[in-house]
Each structure stands twice: as C-alpha cells, then as structure tokens.
C-alpha cells in the first residue's frame, strides 16, 4: 500500500512539474508589449533576446519529456535512463532560468559600465510577464529536483537506505 501511495505521489509530482514548465513556456511566449513615444514605436517580445528563446525551448523540451514519462509503465527497464535524463532535464532547467535571469537583470537595472540602459521602464508589462515566467520556471526546477531524488530512490534499491 505504501508503494502505491509513493507511486501516486511521484505521478502527481511529475504532473505538477509538467504543468509548471508548460506555464513558464506559455507566459514567456505570450509576453509582448508595444510602447510608443515621440512617434517611435518600440515592440518588446520574447524573440528579441536569445536567452528568452532558449528559455522557451528548454521548457518545451522539459514539458514534452515530463509528458512522455508520465506514461512509462512501472516495470519498464527504461527507469534507469529516467534517472540520468532527469538529471539532464534539471541541468537544462537551471541553465535556462539562470540565463534568462541574467539577461532580465540587465534589462531591469542596465549595465552602467557597458553603456546599456534598462528597458523595463519603457515596457513594464513585458518585464512583469517575464518575471512571472521565471517564477514558474523556478517552481518547475524545484519540482524537478524532488523528482530527481525520487527517481534515484526508486531505481537504486531502497535497501541501501535501510542499511545501518
């Protein structure tokens, strides 16, 4: 009975991670704002920055992977690969969040030494949506770390943890 609750817990966790990655993807893709001042029109969308494009791609890969693993049967031999693939997906998620965060930080505060002005003052709604996408990505990351620990626990014989 404990095994069934554990398995249901893992499925719920993976569904939640899938949902979070999908949410991050959707919020980033729909972030678009047009601002105009002095007859100059400026449109900010996520394809302007390479880091945001990478964020979208990474979250898409993670969502598809989570969706596929949801349907993996319990006694399959592929669970050993799931551990390493979970690690790979966690690395992908951290790298995408950290890249998008680094670029968004430059967009918000600018970089005085390089002469880069912040853009968040002109397109505040775009900045807010990007922040929301980053938060969703961070939630997906935390869930993925938990999933990684769970896959490690289920592949490696649980006997190890009962050993004194």
């Amino acid at each position: 009975m404990a095994k069934l609750t554990k398995r249901i817990g893992a499925l719920v966790l993976r569904l939640a991670a899938f949902g979070a990655a999908l949410a991050a993807l959707i919020v980033m893709v729909t972030s678009r704002e047009r601002a105009s001042f002095f007859a100059v029109s400026l449109e900010a969308k996520y394809t302007d920055m390479a880091a945001f494009k990478y964020f979208v791609i990474a979250n898409a890969v993670v969502s598809v992977y989570s969706f596929l693993v949801l349907f993996l049967p319990k006694e399959s031999l592929l669970w050993k690969f799931v551990v390493v693939l979970d690690l790979l997906m966690t690395m992908l998620l951290t790298s995408s969040i950290s890249a998008a965060l680094a670029v968004a930080q430059v967009g918000k505060k600018g970089n005085a030494n390089a002469g880069w002005l912040p853009i968040c003052g002109q397109v505040p709604k775009f900045c807010d949506q990007v922040t929301g996408a980053l938060i969703a990505g961070f939630v997906a990351l935390v869930l993925y770390v938990l999933l990684l620990l769970y896959s490690l626990h289920s592949v490696v014989d649980p006997f190890l943890l009962q050993k004194s």
């Binding site: 690395m91 951290t94 969040i97 965060l101 006997f159 190890l160």
Partner: protein, 199 residues
C-alpha cells in the same frame, strides 16, 4: 565470488573507481581554469570619448568581470565546483576502506548532481551575457562591447570553453557516481539475501 570480495575490501581496484578518479581530475582542472581565467579577466583601454573642436577627449575605460553579476556568479560557482571536485578526489584517494560505509555513496552521488546543475547554470548565464556583449541587441539598443575590448572577450571565450567542458565532465561524473551507487546497493541486497537464504 571474487567480485564481491573486491567490492567489500574497499575501493581502489574496481574499474569504475579509476574512471571516476580520472573524470574528477579533468573536471577539477576544467572548472579551476574557468574560474581563474575569468577571475583575472581585465582590460584597460584609453578611448576617445568625444571631440570638442579639434581636441579629442580621452577617457580610460576598464572592462572587468565584476561589472557583470553573471560573470561574478560564474567565477564563484566554478570555484565552488572545483573545490568540491578537489574534496571528492581527496576523499577517494585517502579513504578507500570506508568507501561503502553508511550514506557515503549516496551523498557523493547527490552532491555530484547538485554541483553539475550549479556549473551548468553558471556557464549558461555567462554565455548568454557574453553573446550580448559580442553581438549587442538592436531592439534594446545595447551596443557591442567586443569590438573595443577584444582581449577581454578572448579571455572570456576561453573561460567559457573551459566551463562548458567542465559541465560535460560533471555530467559524466554524476552518471558514474549514480551507477556506482546502484551497483553497490544491488550487490549488497543480493549478498544479504543470499546470506539470509542460506543459514
């Protein structure tokens, strides 16, 4: 059962131990090189900023890694990961007998995974900021940095290459640690089951 005898006598003789040690040494060198090269990355140049009449005004500008928080994170994270690798190398070499006691293999595997994600995050953040510096961004009106500070960009590029090879090596190290964990736990469960079965 000669293989079990070797396993329980302590590490140092199995193939996975040697592979892990080699990978860890390479990862240590790669991340240390990345941290040092980026940490010493600094370029000072005197540029003509404006011209008043016929007199050019020169200003001395310095490009250093502390200007960008992403590069600061890069240096700190690579230093942390290389320190972790050094610690694990020392542990592997100097305490072979205690290799399989308690939670040691599990904690080594988990720490390796965490450090792999850390170094991948640092390398990726730095590479996207470096791409911004190299190509600029027309939409945000951010101009390039690399055409004026080319030595700074070259050193940064070298540090990034070292960091990415560190990422791949840390991924391999984590994979080998996880496989060692699973080999040991499967072996111990089968041996104990055999011991229980045959009184």
């Amino acid at each position: 059962m000669p293989r079990e005898k070797i396993l329980f006598a302590g590490g140092g003789t199995t193939k996975s131990w040697k592979v892990l040690l080699a990978l860890r040494i390479l990862a240590f060198i790669a991340t240390l090189a990345a941290a040092i090269v980026m940490g010493l990355n600094k370029e000072t140049k005197t540029l003509v900023v404006a011209t008043i009449g016929t007199v050019p005004i020169k200003a001395t500008l310095t490009a250093k890694f502390q200007d960008t928080p992403a590069f600061v994170f890069f240096v700190i994270a690579n230093a942390m990961v290389s320190f972790h690798n050094l610690l694990m190398i020392a542990l592997q070499i100097f305490s072979r007998k205690l290799e399989y006691k308690g939670f040691r293999l599990l904690s080594v595997a988990i720490l390796d995974m965490l450090n792999a994600t850390l170094v991948s995050a640092a390398a990726n953040a730095a590479v996207f900021i470096a791409e911004l510096g190299k190509n600029g961004n027309k939409h945000a009106k951010w101009n390039k940095v690399c055409d004026r500070f080319s030595i700074y960009c070259d050193h940064g590029r070298g540090a990034l290459i070292a960091a990415f090879s560190g990422v791949i090596l840390m991924l391999l190290v984590s994979a080998v640690s996880i496989s060692r964990l699973s080999i040991y736990s499967n072996k111990s469960s089968t041996s104990t089951a055999a011991a229980v079965a045959s009184p």
